[in-house]
């Protein structure tokens, strides 16, 4: 009972916040509503016992993606009123797209209920550990059976990072960066001196 109520609560909030994402006038508000949306989706994941996915949603989507969106929205000067101007013109296309998606959903569910697809049985290497949370099951797989691939995936990310730096970083001679060691090494006597200029002569700098 309590589960059903919680499900409907979070599901309703999820849909409501999703509606606000597209209805909000201010794009920053849209992104904030999106974050609410992700949190509700994460709560739904916890309800079905997939706490790892729930955490991923919060960490990856809220922590990284939404913040990135926020940066983009705040840093780029996008005129959202102008973007919305095409809404009425594009409305029929939107409706068609929605119908296509709905038809796909209906077809998909129909095929699922017909149960005609003869797919393979999982070989059990990735079966969850009985009595453990799915985070522990995943961890046991990632750092046990798939350790080699996990480490290799780390190298893939490293290569991606090195590649991005190699292709974009360039030494600019005109930019003068801060050299802290240089600053600290500078003594007052190097930088200042006493001068007693004669009247009407001025100072040499």
């Amino acid at each position: 009972m309590i589960q059903t109520i919680t499900f409907y609560l979070f599901a309703a909030l999820l849909i409501l916040s999703a509606v606000f994402v597209i209805m909000a006038r201010n794009p920053v508000h849209s992104v904030l509503w999106l974050i609410v949306c992700f949190f509700n989706a994460a709560a739904l994941m916890i309800l079905i016992g997939a706490e790892f996915i729930a955490m991923l949603l919060v960490i990856v989507y809220v922590g990284a993606v939404a913040v990135l969106f926020l940066f983009v929205v705040m840093m780029l000067d996008i005129d959202f009123a102008e973007l919305r101007a095409g809404f009425v013109k594009n409305f029929p296309f939107g409706i068609i797209l929605a119908i296509v998606l709905l038809a796909e959903l209906v077809l998909g569910f129909g095929a699922y209920r017909a149960g005609g697809l003869d797919i393979g049985m999982a070989d059990g290497t990735a079966a969850p550990i009985i009595g453990e949370s799915n985070i522990e099951s995943l961890g046991a797989l990632l750092y046990g059976r798939y350790l080699f691939l996990f480490e290799a995936a780390g190298v893939v990310l490293l290569v991606a990072m090195v590649g991005a730096i190699v292709l974009t970083l360039r030494q600019r001679s005109e930019v003068r960066g801060q050299n802290i060691a240089h600053q600290i090494a500078r003594r007052p006597e190097d930088a200042t001196y006493n001068a007693s200029p004669e009247t009407g002569k001025g100072v040499r700098l």
Partner: protein, 488 residues
């Protein structure tokens, strides 16, 4: 099945590559681009260590359960060792010819050898993969490094274009492979090659067939076989020449070895399902490679079509679907690596007095009178690529066709031989331009000793002297092919 510590011993070459790459990356970060030559030398040393690790595996022809690491994800057998040795060799050449080229453009960076090392690591995983996950991660590691290498000459527009094209098409190919893998996983219930082979041994369901086709299509992208070859000429032309040398050799070896592993591993019980696809791709590659090359005026584009053509001949060995065919492919691959290296080193040596690269075929005119050494090397490479008998390139084609004939694919062999005659036209045309046309005398004398040494070694291998290698090469290739066909 091996336990964890034994598994770690089996991946010794990968560990050396990873640790070496990381240390050199730190060196590159602290010492800067001035140290790039030293880092290149260190990277070659790392590759040499890896070769020493891999060589005994091939020599002893190791195979079977004691070579399987991490519960079937990785197999360090004789087949993997054969491919690895070829990859190390090609990567070492790409490292040795690079400083001369990039210094001239003022673009030698310390990250170049590091990226090559990580690409080699990815290729190592590809050739040793016995699980779809290892396959994909290895492929991605290799591809990511390759995209960056293609765009390495940042100031050159063509290089940036090559990098972008390669990236987009490569990402598309990765997507296709992933889609195929997910279908295979869905219908087989496992990503392990042996388990997939076991499940898919009966009649093939439509879904699994789709998976098989998508995986093969994605791999065809990576080996640049027709009809997925479109990126090759543009990328080969635009990428810096040392990088093109690398692309034409090491990743080709890795992707072909991977294709063999996939064809004979998880889909080994479904030869009927993929044989006709491979036959079509092989013939299309031979014909398109031969016809496409005819109109080319740029030597790098021409060599790109030549590599497409060669992939077609290699796939004839795959279409045979026998250990003999696989062994023939490995022999051909060995010869192909030396031919490609020699071809691209010649391109690297073609420079005018100002140090500008000469890539137009017209400028080769009369090379035999102005630079006879280079002209004779060019003749050896072109005749070898065309498969004209006294040269070693003939032997590769011969063993491949022999395998096809003994697998009753006589039509395939006949069409292949006919198409290789078309291919011979443009190879001989280059020789004609170099030997019989009026000299234009643009090519300046070569100063780099390293280029000369590499070219001399490669030319000796592809010369008729190469036939002395055949018994040794044949026995190694047979051992490797046996390991590939062993059903665990």
């Amino acid at each position: 099945m091996n336990d964890f510590s034994q598994s770690l011993q089996l991946i010794a070459a990968e560990e050396v590559l990873t640790v070496g790459g990381l240390i050199l990356l730190l060196a590159a970060a602290w010492l800067g681009d001035r140290s790039s030559k030293a880092i290149s030398i260190a990277a070659v040393a790392v590759l040499a260590i890896c070769a020493f690790i891999a060589a005994p595996t091939l020599g002893e022809g190791l195979m079977g359960p004691e070579t399987v690491a991490f519960g079937g994800q990785y197999t360090a057998d004789a087949f993997a060792a054969f491919a690895k040795l070829l990859i190390y060799l090609s990567a070492a050449v790409a490292l040795m010819v690079a400083p001369g080229f990039f210094d001239r453009h003022g673009a030698m960076r310390a990250e170049y050898p590091v990226l090559i090392l990580f690409a080699v690591l990815g290729m190592n995983m590809m050739v040793a993969a016995t699980d779809f996950l290892t396959l994909y991660i290895g492929l991605e590691l290799n591809s990511l490094a390759a995209y960056v290498l293609a765009a390495f000459l940042r100031t050159d527009e063509r290089s940036a274009e090559a990098g972008l094209k390669y990236f987009i098409l490569g990402a598309l190919a990765s997507g296709i492979i992933l889609f195929g893998m997910s279908l295979v996983y869905g219908f087989a219930g496992s990503t392990d090659f042996a388990a997939v082979r076991f499940v898919l041994s009966g009649p093939l369901s439509t879904g699994a067939l789709f998976g098989l086709i998508f995986v093969l299509a994605g791999l065809a992208f990576k080996i640049s076989a027709v009809p997925f070859h479109m990126w090759t000429p543009d990328v080969y032309e635009g990428a810096p020449t040392p990088v093109t040398t690398f692309f034409a050799t090491a990743p080709k070896v890795a992707a072909l070895a991977l294709t063999m592993r996939v064809a004979f591993g998880p889909f080994g019980a479904q030869v009927d399902a993929w044989q006709q696809i491979v036959i079509f791709v092989a013939l299309a590659s031979i014909v398109v490679g031969a016809l496409g090359a005819i109109g080319q005026a740029n030597i790098k584009r021409l060599l790109a079509y030549s590599s497409i053509n060669n992939i077609g001949f290699l796939l004839i060995g795959l279409a045979a679907a026998t250990p003999q065919g696989a062994s023939a492919m490995l022999v051909y691959l060995f010869i192909y690596v030396f031919m490609s290296v020699a071809g691209f080193v010649i391109v690297l040596m073609m420079r005018d007095a100002d140090g500008q690269a000469i890539e137009s075929i017209e400028d080769f005119a009369g090379l035999s009178r102005t630079r006879p050494g280079l002209a004779w090397a060019l003749l050896a490479v072109m005749f070898s690529l065309a498969g004209i008998p006294p040269l070693f390139g003939f032997w590769g084609k011969f063993v491949v066709f022999q395998a096809a004939v003994s697998a009753d694919l006589i039509m395939l062999a006949a069409i292949g031989i006919a198409a290789s005659v078309i291919g011979a036209f443009y190879y001989i045309k280059i020789v004609k331009i170099a030997f019989f046309d009026e000299p234009v005398d643009r090519v300046a004398p070569v100063t780099q000793t390293s280029h000369k040494v590499i070219l001399a070694v490669a030319c000796i291998v592809i010369s008729p002297l190469g036939y002395l290698l055949t018994p040794w090469l044949g026995s190694l290739a047979d051992k490797a092919a046996l390991a590939l066909f062993l059903i665990v």
